[in-house]
Symmetry: C2
Subunit: 204 residues, 2 copies
């Protein structure tokens, strides 16, 4: 971020670059959770961030554009273990990352976008393109593709359905019970559903 994007706050402390962007991102999330997708404004976000509206327009075209950047920035990226010899552990870790993220304000903002997809269809599409896809499309997919590339599992088995098993079961558990799955449940999902689908021995 260049000097023009520096910001003078009422208190006089100047923030630049990453710190200012982070504050604006947080403000965008807070704004959507409080006023909703249809009523969030650049003014509202700027006020929450203690930033000038002009500095927002310099970087983002609309509140939704800004919201998508804020979501992408906070979205976790799973990383296979360096030795690439622990598919099961890496899958468990990927779903743990997902569960950790699910407790965040960002996840509630994503839920708001999905709930209102009929009213803002372009936004839901952009969520997949600009937030999920750059991070692997869905949790466990990066790990599964990595182990397929290494030859540890058959790449033909890593279909869209199979790459969705872990995420679907985590969300379902959360919806049905109202609480996120604990480590035992995550492990059961990996052992009983994900690993069998990629030809790994059935876990018990």
């Amino acid at each position: 971020m260049d000097d023009e994007a520096a910001e003078t706050r009422p208190a006089g402390r100047r923030r630049r670059g990453a710190a200012l962007v982070a504050a604006i991102h947080d403000a965008a999330i807070a704004e959507v959770l409080e006023v909703g997708l249809g009523r969030m404004t650049m003014e509202g976000i700027a006020r929450r961030a203690g930033a000038a509206k002009t500095s927002l327009y310099r970087r983002w075209t609309s509140p939704h554009d800004l919201l998508l950047d804020a979501l992408r920035d906070a979205f976790p990226q799973e990383v296979p273990s360096p030795a690439s010899d622990d598919l099961r552990g890496d899958l468990i870790e990927a779903l743990r990352q997902m569960v950790g993220w699910m407790g965040s304000p960002q996840a509630r903002a994503v839920a708001a976008i999905m709930t209102e997809r009929d009213r803002h269809p372009g936004l839901a599409e952009a969520l997949f393109e600009r937030v999920f896809e750059p991070r692997g499309g869905r949790f466990t997919r990066t790990v599964l593709r990595h182990y397929a590339a290494c030859g540890a599992i058959d790449g033909a088995l890593v279909t869209p359905v199979v790459a969705d098993i872990g995420e679907a079961l985590v969300i379902k558990y959360f919806t049905d019970t109202g609480v996120p799955p604990d480590d035992d449940t995550i492990t059961a999902i990996v052992d009983q559903a994900v690993l069998p689908a990629v030809g790994a021995p059935l876990g018990r």
Copy 2:
């Protein structure tokens, strides 16, 4: 339903028994979809059904009690094929039934209960106990348990996680895309996710 439950409508046509109950059930679903869980009343349901409020109280204690009966009554029950020799076909059929149900007003009422579970936790619990459990708990579970009882698959593999795979992936697909899965997708879910988890050969 006995004579006391017979109903004189403004038009003078008398309905009794099953026809009256069906009209009241439909009215309960329409009521919750229009005014919401927190504002549905016996009066409102009676008015929609063209029935007397007293005839509702004779049978149900509250609007939510009535709503649960209406949901249970319309909830599909999967049935394994008589010869019990087509696990794959029966699983596909179970998920087809689920998809058919998902397009119904009853499914929208269930979604309302799940969305508002924080405000009405007892109702969400009762939904599982009084509607889902009597129908097998979730789609594909009755079929899987049946084939396990026949010895076609290992019963130890029909865990809560595994019995949830089909339903979780159908819901996830619907949430992500905004449309219910078509037959090809249902078949892929059964071949690539459900069957491998119960030790059936991997489908491609």
